[in-house]
């Protein structure tokens, strides 16, 4: 039989009691902190799962924050853009009101001023800020994206100074959403159609490349006469000359001249009006007879301006295609000049480019032009412009709708992220949190064991032969 000396018994009891106490203390700590895993070494297997789970949860938190900030930016953009809609509704009312034949010139000026107010508001709205940053500047968000340029002739242009850069942030695992909005895409029209000319100069447009918006006026003037080879004695006459272009000339006799396919006419020294090409157009020439050489080319050069004469583009008929720039807004109109025959004014309509700015500007200009079209023409023009305002309105509403549906998607996304977060949190909690019910009952059991052990040990230690051999 093994000897169990009292010292061995005492040591054994002490070790057992200590072990019990340490288990109690661990449990107590787990209950007090609510964490089952205090240090990675407490449960390395769980810890290896906890770390990525925590990182994933933090990532979801970030994404959720992102989704919220994206949503608030989109909501702000949506509500901002919908203000534009209100402005356009008012502009439409004003146009219809002004189209009424009973409205007089003074009243029209008042209406024009109100439209001007609307335009100013529109620019303020388009330059809205979000937290000190311009909402509609693309990635150039530290200066106002829309700049108003007033020409010396009272015309107004609104230019976009931002860029087309989109800044997207992760709003759901693998899903990105923009938090900035290039203003050119929000406010400017994109479905540009072929550019239309309404005059009879013979100019033709070329599809694409044009950058103007709304409507503009193109003026063609006669710039001068060139002869090929250089001839002596021919100059443009004093009378109003509308003809431009390149023509063959031929003197069948010193005073018999044919220009182009027109009839041969008798000319006299000095001023002459000579028909060209049988179209009824006449060219005014000042002649010093006789003219050498008797055969050659007459080139009546033209100059084109889009900005009311600020800058001219000369047409020398050597190049078929030319580009005319509007120095006020930098817009460019591309033209085929091969059919150009007459000076005059062309109304240029950039189809599909009516945005809110342009619509308001055109309405204002139509109302201001007191010496412009008569009241019937004005009514027609205003009717036309109501259509333009509607076109702009449609665009704005499409944008508002787009922002609305994006916001809604984000809301759904956020709900989905919240569900994910709940799942992950539950998983994390299962791994690292104390299961209070079982921990407390375990603690209770330990406690009872400990008390029992104490009592039994106390009894056993008391018993010694000394007690009985006195």
């Amino acid at each position: 039989m093994t000897r169990i000396p009292s010292t061995a018994f005492q040591l054994r009891s002490l070790i057992d009691l200590r072990r019990n106490l340490s288990a109690t203390s661990t449990l107590q700590q787990q209950i007090a902190t609510g964490r089952r895993v205090q240090r990675p070494s407490d449960d390395p297997i769980a810890a290896a799962r906890i770390l990525p789970l925590r990182a994933e949860l933090q990532r979801l938190d970030r994404i959720s924050d992102n989704a919220q900030s994206a949503q608030s930016a989109i909501d702000l953009a949506g509500s901002t853009v919908s203000q534009v809609s209100d402005l356009l509704i008012r502009a439409r009312e004003l146009s219809i009101q002004a189209a009424n034949s009973t409205v007089g010139g003074v009243e029209r000026q008042t209406l024009a001023n109100e439209v001007e107010q609307l335009l100013q508001q529109l620019i303020v709205v388009a330059n809205s800020e979000n937290g000190g940053r311009f909402l509609f500047g693309g990635t150039v968000d530290d200066r106002p994206p829309f700049e108003r340029v007033d020409g010396p002739d009272g015309s107004t242009r609104v230019l976009y100074r931002g860029d087309r850069g989109r800044r997207e942030i992760e709003v759901a695992p693998g899903l990105r959403e923009a938090t900035n909005f290039p203003g050119s895409e929000v406010f400017f029209a994109h479905d540009r159609g072929p550019t239309l000319l309404s005059g009879r100069t013979g100019l033709a447009t070329i599809p694409g490349f044009d950058t103007g918006v709304g409507t503009d006026q193109l003026e063609v003037r006669v710039a001068g006469l060139r002869t090929e080879p250089p001839a002596v004695g021919i100059a443009l006459g004093n009378a109003t000359n509308e003809v431009v272009g390149e023509f063959d000339y031929r003197f069948t006799a010193p005073d018999q001249l044919q220009i182009g396919t027109g009839p041969t006419v008798t000319v006299t020294p000095g001023q002459n009006r000579i028909p060209v090409n049988g179209s009824g157009d006449e060219i005014s020439l000042n002649l010093v007879l006789p003219i050498t050489p008797t055969l050659g080319k007459l080139v009546v050069e033209a100059e084109l301006t889009l900005d009311g004469g600020e800058t001219f583009t000369r047409v020398d008929f050597q190049e078929r295609l030319i580009a005319v720039e509007d120095s006020l807004d930098g817009s460019v109109l591309h033209l085929d000049v091969s059919g150009l025959r007459r000076a005059g004014v062309e109304e240029v309509t950039y189809q599909g480019t009516f945005d809110a700015f342009q619509a308001l500007i055109e309405v204002r200009d139509a109302l201001r032009a007191t010496d412009g079209p008569g009241s019937a023409a004005l009514q027609d023009r205003l009717q036309e412009l109501v259509g333009a305002v509607d076109e702009a309105q449609e665009r704005i509403l499409a944008q508002v709708q787009d922002f609305g549906s994006r916001s809604q998607t984000l809301q759904l996304t956020q709900n989905r992220i919240a569900t994910l977060q709940d799942n992950q949190t539950a998983e994390l909690s299962r791994l690292e949190d104390t299961d209070l019910a079982s921990a407390i009952s375990e603690l209770e059991v330990l406690n009872i064991n400990y008390q029992a052990a104490l009592q039994v040990t106390a009894r056993a230690l008391q018993t010694s032969l000394f007690n009985f051999l006195a």
Binding site: R3, P5, S6, T7, A8, L11, I15, V37, Q38, R39, P40, S41, D42, D43, P44, A47, A48, I50, L51, P52, R54, A55, Q58, R59, D61, R62, I63, D65, N66, S69, A70, R133, G138, T139, V140, D141, D142, G165, R167, I169, T179, N180, I206, P207, G208, F209, T313, D316, Q318, E319, L321, I322, A323, V332, H334, E432, S464, L465, F466, L469
Partner: protein, 782 residues
Amino acid sequence: MTFALGLGASLRALTAARLGIQTASHNVANANTPGFSRQRVSFSSSQPIFAQGFQIGSGVEIGEVRRIVDDGLIARIYGQNSLVGSSQARYERLLSIESLFGSDVGGLGETFNGFLGSLSALQANPGDRAFRGGVVQSAQAFTSGLNLIGNGLSSVSETTFDEVRGLAQSVESLAVQLAALNDAVVQAESSGSPANDLRDQREQVAREIASLVDVRQVDRASGALDLIVGGRLLVAGGRSSEVQVTRNADGLTELRIGSEGATADVEGGRIGALLQLERTTGPSYRSRVDAFVRDFTLAFDRLHTTGTPESGPFRTLVSDRGAQDTNGNGILGDELLSQLGLPFDIQTGELRIRVVNESSRDARTHTLRVDPSSTTLADFAAQIEAIPALSGSVDSTGRLRIQAQTGFGFDFSPAIDAQPDDLDVFGGARPSVSTGESGPFDLSALAFPATFTIDDGTTTQVVTLDNSDFEDPTRVTADELAAAIEADASNIDATAADGRVVIQGLSAGAVAEFTLTDGAGSPLAAIGFPSGTYRGQDTGVTVTVGGAYDGATNRSLRVVANGDGEIGVTPGLTVDVFDEEGTLLGTLDVGAGYDGSRLPLADGVTVAFGQGRIRATANESFGVDLVADSDTSDILVALGLNTFFSGDATASTVSVRQEVLDDPNLFSASRNGNSGNAENLLAFESLLAGRRSSLGDVDFEDFIGDLIADIGFETARAERTFESQERLSQDLEQQRLAVSGVDLDEELLNLNAYQQAFEAASRLISVMQEVTDTLINLGSPR
């Protein structure tokens, strides 16, 4: 039977009983003395006397007082003590390493994620100063966490030395005690009786030594106990050796025993565990953390250095790290870039510096070749100095200083040049002709002097190419050729662009023209100029490149007119896109029906053409540089120019660069200089989410997670080992107590027995006395 005999036996019985009582009381008194072994008096019956034909018993023979021990058990306890000592030290040390990484599960991982979170928050508002401050703060929290770990892990080796030195002193003084006890035991036992209590004390001392170092004990016949530690004699009889602690060449702690100071290979005990941790565990975690810091800061700063700060292009930039005078000649900056003593290596590659005119916002990108094996820092500074509007120098502390002229700034942005056709060659308004291929040109077949004429309609000028114009006629560079043409003809401009030679008329417009005609030696075809007349146009073709390049490598594309005609008008007009190797990447349709819209060029980059005429017969083309990394040489990271982090690429030294800490607007969130551009943040994000082959193909987050989990596993294992070793040790102690422990009940029973024996012996004597009296009084009267 003699009376004397009976009395003698009784006396011995009395003595034996008294000895028994004394031993029992000694046992009872030492019942709780640590290491005490119970003692027993051994008795035997004494030699019988042969008398009258009988063997007559002569009483008890007292043997010796001997302690009850199991020597095998004692040896096992020594070994177990070493194991407990080492596992305890290991556990305690790992626990402190574990707490370095965060007292909570997370710690380092948490601060890293905090940093990620702040980067993500900045994405929505890249220009916002408050969010930028958040990035800098959270980065600082992350780097100070790393510093704590780095310093903590290095101090593990510091504290190992101090702790081992303290423990070694204990070993030495215990060894002295042991030697003294050896002497005492030998002396005491020379008389023949065992020195029980001295041996107990000696065992106790030996056990303490065993818990510090693993020992081998040798029991000598003389009764001395010799101890061998790591192959060296610690105690030999009455002599003990000196114990010293030193550091070796690698800074590692070593234990030396004996007057010659020979190193002892200690593997067990507390000291053994500490030495082993210092050699393996500590350095392994430290190298893992350092590898993380090196890889992370390098990858992060590669992006940061080539990004652009909120505060706009730099006017002055001074490198964070200075060159060291590694060749020891007292001059800083004359060492090769590969020998500057920097924590990161400079590679062979290219650095692109973008110089921005602050008022016009015009930007020009200059490419510098970096070859660390042939360029010195001073050479590199001179290369920068050669860039217009920039100056470069090495200051007195070895730092590179780049400064822009007033009105200019610079950065290292890889932004796409929106107007790549700098010379306006492609559909230009001025008449022009280019060489079809890029140089160098092999003109060795030409008979020099060779001539051709340039007629601009006003003057005709002769260009004479001579042998002396070129360094090597087999390899004539575009620059040499352009200079030779420019020197002879004043009616045109000749320039070298992208390795090609371009001749342009002096004026623009449809009437501007020039004609190239071959002269002596017909050099035009050899150079690659088609002869003929080239005309300008009133409005040149505008070329606009846009989008963001999302390719992985730097590319250099060339867009070449494929046919003569009007963009948007001529049916079937196309342009070809070639890569740097001359491989056709694609053909873009710009003929009839093209409306100036953006056409895809490559990897997210688009190109749009305005209207006008282009001419393949004049070799019209332009190059587009698509830059993924504007510093393939890592020179910016290595020198610390526009970095986010500074330090020596170790966990103990990494920090956020002081300038960025002071001004969070210096954080490079943008890649093109626009305040609202967050491309660099996206790049950081994908960097941080991507797997790193240099870190074992895991991402940064997982690397940290694995590291912490590994420490958790190792600590948990050490804890379990310690607990089971301790339990084993307790079991052995139980066993020792079962053999050698004092059982009070037993001693009491023994005491009782000896007491009764004593009483019985006393009674015997009194019986003897009565018998003697009876005998004496036999003859005397009553």
